[in-house]
Point group: C2
DNA sequence: GTTGCTGCAAAGTGTTTGCACCCTG
DNA sequence: CAGGGTGCAAACACTTTGCAGCAAC
């Protein structure tokens, strides 16, 4: 494995006096191969298929590394656990979450973004990040 | 105390074979008197000033009642604890959250809402609720 | 007087941390 | 071979639940 993502992680690691380990490679590759919006436990389960004695704490620690290096983005859909989504070359988007089947549709609407900026400016607020989640029923579930 | 909110809660309670208690009144009135976006612990602290031996569990249970009866709305800003905001006669709004001082500015932009509906329709999705949180720096903190 | 409610403490979540040993650089 | 990384278990923070006594209807 020697993807761009691998490179990003290794760059981040060497820039911070950290070390590349077998476990970190495994977690990264599992993360990249996973569907989007995995939780730490999801990832732990996947990773264990490859390497059965990897610890949950290591998964958490690596996810935090991935987040710091910009490869992953932390999400919180309010169900009490964090999800992580891919971020490499992955532009910003928002979510429609089906409360029936759990499906997540991603979308991006430039005008919504534009009006957000406008409201912020009007309030003297500087946006560093935002998230828009819509909950409801997808086409299949109504 | 005999506000409209009190009425809403009592209606809900009697419709569900539940009972009105001193503690529930206390929690409701503390909730109504509180600033918006209180956490359960916040409310517990406030309530204890009036009635020192009220349990945290009771606060949680009452907040769940308030949420079910529509008086409160559960919020999750991703900081690991739920917040509750007033909902009686309180129209929908979104949030700008200052990551420096914690201030929360509420806003509502009809066009943003409109475009949300549009995106949803285009995807065959029916929105039941949504939330838009923007994180950044408020005017005082930059 | 039922039946639901309370306070307390214990159990449950999901996540983080301390530590002795291990491995990368 | 030094210093960070790992697995494990314990600690955490927030929330929920079980239970015996209590109070509302």
């Amino acid at each position: 494995m020697s993807s761009k993502e691998q490179q990003v992680l290794e760059d981040f690691i060497s820039q911070n006096n950290l070390k590349i380990t077998r476990q970190r490679r495994t977690v990264l590759s599992a993360f990249l191969g996973s569907e989007e919006h995995v939780s730490a436990e999801d990832l732990h389960r996947i990773v264990r298929e490859k390497e059965s004695n990897i610890g949950l704490a290591t998964v958490y620690r690596t996810l935090s590394l991935l987040t710091q290096s910009g490869l992953a983005v932390e999400l919180d859909f309010g169900d009490g656990q964090k999800r992580y989504e891919h971020n490499y070359m992955h532009s910003h988007h928002d979510h429609m979450i089906c409360t029936e089947c759990g499906k997540i549709i991603e979308f991006n609407h430039p005008l919504i973004e534009k009006f957000q900026e406008e409201v912020a400016r009007r309030n003297g607020f500087t946006i560093t990040s935002h998230k828009l989640d819509m909950f409801g029923l997808c086409a299949d579930c109504k």
